[in-house]
């Protein structure tokens, strides 16, 4: 315990409260962006369906409807706006909670609301998707040197990040829930958060290849 490395390790561990939140937020940010990158496709599909439906009425009043290509950029901007909004929500959740609050079923029951139900459902898949992105980045960086070990290192990194940053972040935001003013608290956020959760779970994790 006396060697310099152990002392540094301990010092960093004691100062964890100062910087671990950044990693927890960054992890959710990565998962959110991955989901947002698919959300823009969904928004594009919605916009193009809308334009298709409105094409005839627009032409009758002398307006030229947008071509499908013109809708790609607005769709990306909308997805970006929603991503930033959701990231702010995550930031808010993290900063309002202590570093390691006590988790107990009773405390959770007392804090039960729409927000309390949706929060873990949204946090877990986005953090997992973020962890997978980090792991795959590690694999990509090391693959030219040794493809086989790089694959395993990537998976191990994903698991480590999911455990050390994802799980601790989840425990932090859920454990930090306080008694709501109303059980319906968080109802407005729920559709947005759950949309990101579903996209992160479906596109952010390697289900497609595994399932097929």
């Amino acid at each position: 315990m006396d060697d310099p490395l152990s002392r540094l390790d301990a010092a960093l561990a004691r100062s964890r409260f100062a910087w671990i939140g950044l990693g927890q937020l960054a992890l959710v940010g990565l998962g959110l962006h991955l989901a947002a990158d698919h959300l823009d496709d969904q928004v594009y599909a919605l916009l193009s369906a809308l334009v298709e439906r409105l094409a005839a009425p627009l032409e009758t009043v002398g307006l030229t409807p947008s071509s499908p290509d013109d809708l790609l950029e607005p769709a990306a901007w909308i997805a970006l706006a929603l991503e930033l909004l959701t990231l702010l929500h995550a930031f808010n959740c993290l900063t309002l909670t202590p570093l390691a609050p006590k988790l107990s079923p009773r405390a959770y029951r007392d804090a039960l609301s729409v927000h309390a139900l949706v929060l873990p459902l949204y946090w877990a898949p986005t953090a997992l998707a973020g962890a997978w992105v980090v792991g795959m980045s590690v694999e990509d960086a090391l693959a030219p040197l040794a493809a086989g070990p790089a694959r395993w290192l990537g998976v191990i990194t994903s698991l480590l990040v999911a455990w050390r940053l994802g799980l601790s972040g989840l425990a932090r935001v859920v454990g930090g829930l306080s008694a709501p003013k109303s059980r319906l608290q968080g109802l407005l956020w729920a559709p947005l958060l759950l949309t990101f959760a579903v996209l992160a779970a479906w596109y952010g994790l390697p289900w497609r290849g595994v399932l097929s």
């Binding site: 315990m1 490395l5 152990s6 540094l8 390790d9 301990a10 960093l12 561990a13 004691r14 100062s15 964890r16 910087w19 671990i20 950044l22 990693g23 960054a26 992890l27 940010g29 990565l30 962006h33 947002a36 990158d37 698919h38 823009d40 496709d41 969904q42 594009y44 599909a45 193009s48 499908p68 290509d69 790609l72 950029e73 990306a76 901007w77 970006l80 991503e83 930033l84 990231l87 973020g130 992105v133 980090v134 980045s137 590690v138 990509d140 693959a143 030219p144 493809a147 694959r151 990194t157 480590l160 990040v161 050390r164 940053l165 596109y203 390697p206 497609r208 290849g209 595994v210 097929s212």
Partner: protein
């Protein structure tokens, strides 16, 4: 200062040391680096940092990190088509002209597969139902825009998604592979499960497409003396899978390459006599046995319909004929199912 000793038999308890700080910090740095390089927030943060240092850099586009993938609707339409082969088979048989005409790839291929599998046939109700669906045209337009007619790319993205494909291409580029965006060039860099899915979609579809556009190896009138399937071997008198068809033809009849490809083997052995194996790509191979004269050699590129040999009666054979085998993937398939007009 005297040290207190615990009572006899009880070990002193040490305070649990704080640990894992280095690991956690390393993971945080990795994650923050990911955010900086992959998300709009990171791009803008780096740009602001450069500005603060007085370094003039171009402001990054906030939406630059959004990749334009096939829209969910296009994928849903593709999926609907791929999982309903009988519907495509119906569309195919209601189209004008020869089977497959009027439907661009990859739909034509999907339809042909449906026919080859025997999943058809379309009844009138099915045709009417399909005619009422405008999905194909919309999906095609979107695919044309996204993939510029690269069917392999469309099939691969359909099977594994755009992100794993991009990663495989990136890695193929890192090791200096030629033209890494080609499926054949980067498929080795796909993770195992995704490689299997891509192989099923790309090699499966394209391979069957090749098989379904065969040239029959003998153009002259001939009869089929033995079909594909289990039979009593004429020489060995045992029940054995006949892995091809025997086309009865006089010695010297021109033998045509069934598809474009590369001659993988042009050789002779006691069983097959003089024989040729042509690799058509995507796991499709054809072989031609008991030949009299070979007109190509190993490594030659051949075109569909090119004369590659004269038929004969060499090897273990009971009379002049061509033994023609077609393999799709690992399996020998019945060539007659893919016979043009057959």
């Amino acid at each position: 200062m005297s040290r207190r000793t615990p009572p006899k038999g009880i070990k002193p308890q040490k305070a649990t040391p704080a640990r894992g700080g280095l690991t956690d910090l390393f993971l945080v740095v990795l994650t923050v680096f990911g955010v900086m390089t992959r998300t709009p927030v990171g791009g803008v943060t780096l740009w602001a940092y450069d500005l603060a240092r007085g370094v003039e850099t171009e402001r990054p586009s906030l939406i630059a990190t959004f990749t334009a993938g096939p829209s969910a609707r296009v994928l849903a339409e593709l999926e609907a088509i791929f999982v309903q082969p009988e519907a495509m088979a119906g569309a195919l048989s209601s189209a004008q002209g020869a089977p497959g005409e009027g439907f661009p790839e990859p739909y034509r291929t999907a339809a042909r597969i449906a026919l080859a599998k025997g999943d058809g046939p379309a009844d009138e109700a099915l045709r009417a139902e399909l005619a009422a669906l405008p999905a194909e045209e919309r999906a095609l337009a979107a695919l044309d825009r996204l993939y510029k007619g690269d069917v392999e790319e469309a099939l691969e993205v359909y099977a594994v998604g755009a992100e794993p494909r991009s990663r495989a291409i990136r890695r193929a580029r890192q090791v200096g592979t030629d033209d890494p965006s080609r499926y054949a060039a980067h498929r080795a860099f796909l993770p195992d499960a995704q490689a299997r899915a891509a192989r099923a979609a790309v090699d499966g579809t394209m391979g069957l497409a090749k098989a379904l556009t065969l040239t029959w190896p003998i153009a002259a009138p001939h009869r089929i003396s033995s079909r594909f399937g289990y039979r009593i071997h004429p020489v060995l008198k045992t029940r054995k899978l006949h892995n091809g068809v025997d086309l009865s033809a006089p010695i010297g009849t021109p033998v045509l390459a069934a598809q474009a490809g590369e001659v993988e083997k042009a050789a002779q052995d006691p069983l097959n006599g003089k024989f040729i194996i042509v690799n058509h790509g995507h796991g499709v191979r054809s072989s031609y046995c008991h030949l009299d004269a070979l007109h190509v050699q190993k490594g030659d590129a051949v075109t569909a319909g090119q004369v590659i040999a004269d038929s004969g009666n060499t090897g273990r054979s009971t009379g002049p004929h061509l033994h023609f085998t077609l393999r799709v993937g690992r399996d020998a398939v019945d060539p007659e199912r893919f016979r043009p007009g057959g």
